[in-house]
């Protein structure tokens, strides 16, 4: 077989590393790296690695691994500076290296193996090689020369990437409030002399501060001054550092004929999770392995490579996008206590939970637990719900209970008059089914109309689903009276069901009540119930209709705020089912982010479910201030155990 001719366009870590691996695997391969810049020119400052990458690098090329790791700056601490406090958490290992140094190590290894390195080369068309690798970054020319189904969209806040000669001793997050808004910093040391220093702020803050009118030097001066205290009088250094929007690059496919993309050219990942270089180098490992496994059959190898890398990259990119969005919304968390703020930050991506942090950094977790314990009744590790009621046991939700026979969902739905209160603390979910009433029991399905049912009511005389009954207009006074009468009942938490397209929820959505003042009747209802109800009063809401013409999340947050102002103590966060043809998103914890936004933007306590099944999820969500109460789906046997006060669940959904 004639030796393969491989042209790698782009001399960054991904491209150089691929060259090394290919030449090692088959020395007769003609490998060429074509790089636009000079060998010692580089953008950026330091690159960061987590422990996991190091293993795969060690296996792929021990020599490179050794040199890189010997040069690493290492630390296992995270510092969070917020609200005049500095909070530290240990047990998080990171390593970093100067980008220029990394490239120099890789370049030397390339030369030692006989890879041809061509610098100062500007490509205009596809090179004529057996395999062309686009390793030329987010703005890849090679990608633009082919058909990959590319999408590039800006995500996250405005950011600028500096270096500084202050050597931090931990991965450091700094949050600084200014008159224009919140600025935040990601900083980490990468050798004995220098640190990376990235400044971020949301677009609106960027403009308010007049940063859109400053040039490179003025921006640097602004940041130096703003963070003078944290920089301890040291300087910031620019490397053509400008305020940028992070480009999220995705491609439908990563190959087009004999051309394949690796690294940022194929997929960028927001810098805030520190995985860009790691992804690129792991791509190279996978591609090189593919070629070896497929005996240098380029087409087959490219497919293997994409098959192997796509799922990992997708997950990383999703985590990176969430992280970018998270940092752009940090202002909503600034009212939190620093300890909770820090825990929220640490657990933002779901990779660290209350339990796993308890292992990495027991001291931090103890501090958080006792902070919580000091505010509420139940001892840690269980978090007690907010407010006054004694919670040594779980609070059990009643399921939907109708205010009247006509308000039932199905013949099996309990009606308040005949409902028997179970033992122990209970949350009573009181509602009227509206146009989703008069249906068959849930065991058969939902929204299947009964043949001989009863008349149903709704604000709009439109049936819920295919073959559903047509509702009549409701007698609002009568229904209000029914709710008020029911509200006299003695329960620990009373919840008015205004979610999921039942009667009250139907008033709140433009899809089901196309009038100006949609809040009129629901607020009237809440106020009337508030008058007679002394204990905690919750409102269940579909925060989003999951429908382009329905309530958006922002609309839902405004409704939550209105309910809070009218006397609701707690919002039970739900989504969708306002109409039967909505577009839901289902996965584990699919409502957590919504609860986070309602709680921290509408500033009202929340209760949330959304397919949560572990105590760790509950502790993490409540600890991080994403909700105050968590509804868990536990199998019956586990509920028995959970009612033990030393291991209390906050809420348990009792499923038959």
């Amino acid at each position: 077989m004639p030796p393969l001719k491989v042209d790698i366009v782009g001399g960054g870590p991904g491209g150089l590393y691929l060259a090394i691996l290919l030449k090692k695997a088959e020395p007769s391969t003609d490998v060429r790296v074509l790089e636009r810049n000079a060998p010692d020119a580089t953008f950026g400052w330091g690159v960061v690695f987590s422990e996991e990458t190091l293993g795969s690098l060690r296996d792929a090329d021990p020599e490179t691994h050794l040199e890189i790791t010997e040069t690493f700056a290492r630390w296992n601490r995270l510092d969070i500076r917020f609200g005049g406090r500095e909070l530290r958490s240990t047990g998080h290992s990171f390593s970093a290296i100067a980008r220029a140094r990394l490239l120099e190590i890789l370049q030397r290894r390339c030369r030692a193996l006989g890879v041809e390195l061509d610098f100062g080369v500007e490509i205009e068309e596809l090179p004529d090689a057996d395999l062309v690798v686009g390793a030329d970054g987010a703005n890849s020319l090679i990608r633009r020369l082919g058909e990959f189904g590319t999408k590039v969209e800006p995500e996250g806040s405005k950011y600028v990437w500096f270096g500084t000669d202050l050597v931090f001793d931990a991965f450091t997050f700094i949050f600084k409030e200014t008159e224009h808004g919140l600025f935040n910093v990601h900083a980490y040391p990468y050798d004995e002399r220098m640190s990376t220093f990235i400044v971020e702020c949301p677009d609106v803050v960027w403009r308010a501060a007049g940063l859109d009118e400053l040039d490179e030097h003025e921006s640097l001066a602004f940041c130096e001054q703003l963070f003078a205290h944290d920089l301890r009088g040291r300087e910031l250094f620019s490397n053509r550092s400008l305020w940028l929007d992070f480009p999220k690059v995705t491609n439908r496919v990563w190959h087009d004929g004999r051309v394949v993309l690796v690294g940022d050219a194929a997929h960028t990942a927001h810098f805030s999770i520190g995985s860009g270089t790691k992804l690129a180098m792991e791509d190279s490992i996978a591609l090189a392995n593919g070629l070896v496994r497929r005996s240098w059959d380029v087409e087959a190898a490219i497919v293997d490579y994409e098959l192997e890398r796509a799922p990992v990259v997708e997950r990383t990119q999703a985590a990176a996008s969430d992280s970018a969005a998270y940092f752009s919304r940090m202002a909503t968390y600034t009212q939190m206590e620093p300890l909770q703020f820090a825990f929220n930050l640490l657990t933002r991506s779901g990779r660290i939970t209350h339990a796993s942090l308890g292992i990495r950094d027991p001291q931090f977790t103890r501090a958080l637990d006792s902070w919580f314990g000091g505010r509420a009744v139940s001892p840690p590790p269980a978090f007690s719900p907010w407010g006054e009621f004694p919670n040594r046991f779980s609070l059990v939700p009643s399921g939907f209970v109708a205010v009247s026979p006509e308000g039932r969902i199905s013949p099996e739905t309990p009606v308040i008059g005949e409902w028997t209160r179970p033992e122990g603390p209970v949350l009573l979910q009181l509602g009227h089914a509206g146009r989703r009433g008069s249906c068959r029991p849930a065991s058969a399905g939902r929204d299947l109309p009964l043949e001989d049912g009863w008349p149903i009511v709704a604000p709009l005389r439109v049936p819920y689903g295919p073959f559903s009954r047509v509702p009549e207009r409701p007698d609002e006074d009568e229904i209000l009276a029914q709710f008020v009468a029911a509200a006299e009942i003695d329960v620990d938490v009373l919840e008015l069901d205004m979610a999921h397209g039942y009667l009250l929820g139907s008033y709140l959505s433009p899809l089901t009540n196309p009038v100006e003042d949609r809040l009129r009747f629901p607020l009237r209802m809440l106020e009337a119930v508030r008058q007679v109800r002394r204990g905690p009063l919750a409102v269940r809401l579909s925060i989003t209709d999951w429908h382009p013409r329905g309530n958006s999340v922002d609309d839902g947050i405004a409704i939550a705020r209105a309910m809070r102002d009218a006397g609701a103590d707690l919002i039970h966060v739900e989504a969708g089912q306002t109409v039967h043809d909505d577009r839901p998103e289902y996965r584990r914890g699919f409502l957590t982010a919504l609860s986070d936004r309602v709680r921290n933007e509408a500033r009202v306590p929340t209760l949330v479910g959304g397919y949560l099944t572990t105590l760790d999820e509950a502790n993490t969500i409540v600890g991080a201030g994403r909700a105050d109460l968590v509804l868990l789906d536990l199998p019956p046997a586990q509920i028995e155990r959970s009612l033990d006060p030393s291991n209390t669940v906050l809420l348990a959904e009792v499923r038959p």
Binding site: V253, A444, D582, Y586
Partner: protein, 275 residues
Amino acid sequence: MNIGVGLPTTTPGATGELLLEWARRADAAPFSSVAVLDRVAYDSFEPFAALAGAAGVTRRVRLATMIAIGPLRPTGLLAKQAASVHQLSGGRLTLGLAVGARTEDYEAAHAESRGRGQKLAEQLAYIRGGVDGDRVGPSREGIELLVGGLSGQAFSRMARYADGYAHGGGPPRAFASAAARAEAAWKDLGRPGRPKLWGQGYFTFGDVELGHAYLRDYYAFTGGFVEQIVAANPTSPAALKDFVRGYEEAGCDELVLFSTTPEIEEFERLQEALA
């Protein structure tokens, strides 16, 4: 976890005789179900006709569509076809429905592809709800209903109207991820218990080149993705055992295994591999 076997309704060279022989043998062997796929613009057997044939030569196995593309058919007709198979088999139909992935099937059937999601929802409500049940017989009572698809709407339709979820195939982790979403939707819609979870996969023990050529042809519409399907296809008993174990660990209730070639020897090799 139960294991079912696919009938060779779409593999080139399958005859009616061969299809019925697969069904007979599945009924005698410890397979819990036989299943069929659905295409119009393809050299394949119509699913309800195939299951009706299988009903005639079996007594025990469930007869399943994994899946049938509901919106290709007028609603009343779909209900009648399904109910007829159900009655002919003495109540053994598992009706898996979805919207399908190829527009050419809709074109060949002269069915409207726009709004097919909505139409599927109507069909599910019609069949499940016994709508017009007196006029459009036979009885649909007792049909086990599954819904397939990966969109949020597919999961909510499943949770609203069906008994469970029909996954379209892939490695065990893909099934596990879909299963979690199905459970989430089920609970969100307030259904008791949990949804039934059906999965499917392929295998090729005999002529691998032929089997892969079939997969490349059948899944040609997925573009570049077809190579990933081929690469993941189990071609040894060990690989198949891994696949089966992965599905079991992910909570699958019934896994249907489809051969990529119709020869009866593949059935025998499958039996051996699973023994």
